[in-house]
Symmetry: C2
Subunit: 250 residues, 2 copies
């Protein structure tokens, strides 16, 4: 079968008004994938299916999501793709760049690393301008203890304890290359770079780190939590709205 | 008449979903004043009228709006006012601080200086996260020429040329203490600090400065524009969404 060209697109979106990236079978709720496929199919005058690097959950945002699609029909020069797309996409979804890639390129399977950020507002009053893009958490936090915990989480581990149920994966082993924890104004920003992340993994690690910060979990317990391979041993899942898919590397 | 206590409140809001600050006679569109008076009257169990420092237009945002109101009935300690208010206000409006002030304090007439910021996105693609808080303007700009124009606008002038019609004011003379023009990432930020601003004045000055930047108006023409006292001599009005009321000084 001639699948035509394979186009890779980098995408930003405000996830507030979407029920996640992936089309939900039988549901008509707006999803990023649903909007992309509808508009691309309309532009290309053929049925387009998009493959994404990260199937972000409902309410999760992206500054550097990646998807690819095949088109045999659409004759547009690749440097015009983002203009065509942005002229029809809603303003809370923007195509940032597009390039033609090898037919073997797969947005998810070809990815070598992904970077997510999680934003925590430490302000007593949630600003109207960050309310949809950060999680408010006002309890006192011991950042040194949290940074100690980070040392135990970084590296290759079986992260089953940090995976929500309801996902089917062959292996729960992942490598986190780096976790940064920075304070900027009244915002605490976690950055996670790894070779892949399990379902809710970033949000469960963040929730666990917050519980280390409040003293509910001691950083030395992280090793035990990992070893247990049991979701119940880790901390709570923080809300979706503070999470951003920042970047995918190939 | 015993008017009770006079309470001054500092307020932030995302103006996107409001038809400006001021209640529009005969219209039922949501306004910041309408929401504040409804919630305050409910909390105080008496009819509350709020007086504001700056009657921001539809779509204009605020990080440091100020209003005051009188209450004879509401017995709440003043340090609890913002918690009571924030528990009933929608999340796009937040009370930041409250204090009891002299009965003679008037949020508008007592103001000595106001600071507004205007945000211009220079990005080719408008980010989903700044689309409601900046005006996209991609033409090349000569910032040096714009800074020259700023020198002619700063100071005490009759700003009638920079006032939209439809406002009744005794005097069109105002003093602008300072205009700053900074570039940060792909954002151009104008900051205006003055003793007061006429209707649409910040937006018309910004529009005129952009036309200086593109060469359509030469900076040496600013003096002539001011002298003409004619709205038609100045540049276009930029959209509301890039404008923020930052601070009011007393």
């Amino acid at each position: 079968m001639n699948r035509g060209r394979n186009i890779k697109v980098i995408l930003a979106y405000d996830g507030t008004n979407y029920h996640g990236f992936q089309i939900q079978k039988g549901k008509r709720l707006p999803t990023i994938q649903g909007v992309l496929q509808r508009e691309l199919s309309h532009l290309a005058k053929e049925t387009i299916t998009v493959t994404t690097a990260g199937r972000t959950d409902s309410g999760v945002h992206a500054r550097g999501q990646v998807f690819n699609f095949f088109t045999g029909n659409w004759q547009i020069p690749v440097d015009r793709v983002i203009y065509a797309l942005n002229s029809v996409l809603p303003p809370d979804i923007r195509a940032l760049s597009a390039e033609e890639v090898d037919l073997g390129f797969h947005a998810r399977y070809s990815a070598l690393a992904k970077t997510y950020c999680y934003y925590i507002s430490r302000d007593q009053i949630v600003s109207p301008f960050t309310r949809l893009y950060s999680y408010q958490y006002n309890y006192p936090l011991d950042l040194d203890d949290m940074r100690q915990a980070v040392l135990h989480i970084t590296g290759e581990h079986d992260f089953k304890s940090f995976m929500a149920s309801g996902s089917l994966v062959k292996s729960t082993i992942r490598t986190i290359y780096q976790i940064d924890l920075i304070e900027k104004d009244k915002m605490l920003i976690f950055t996670f770079r790894g070779n892949g992340f399990l379902y809710h993994m970033v949000r469960i690690i963040t929730g666990t780190l917050l519980q280390v910060g409040t003293g509910k979990i001691h950083y030395s317990e992280i090793e035990t939590i990992l070893k247990k391979c049991d979701r119940k041993s880790a901390g709570a899942t923080v809300p979706a709205l503070g999470l951003f898919l920042e970047r995918v590397e190939y």
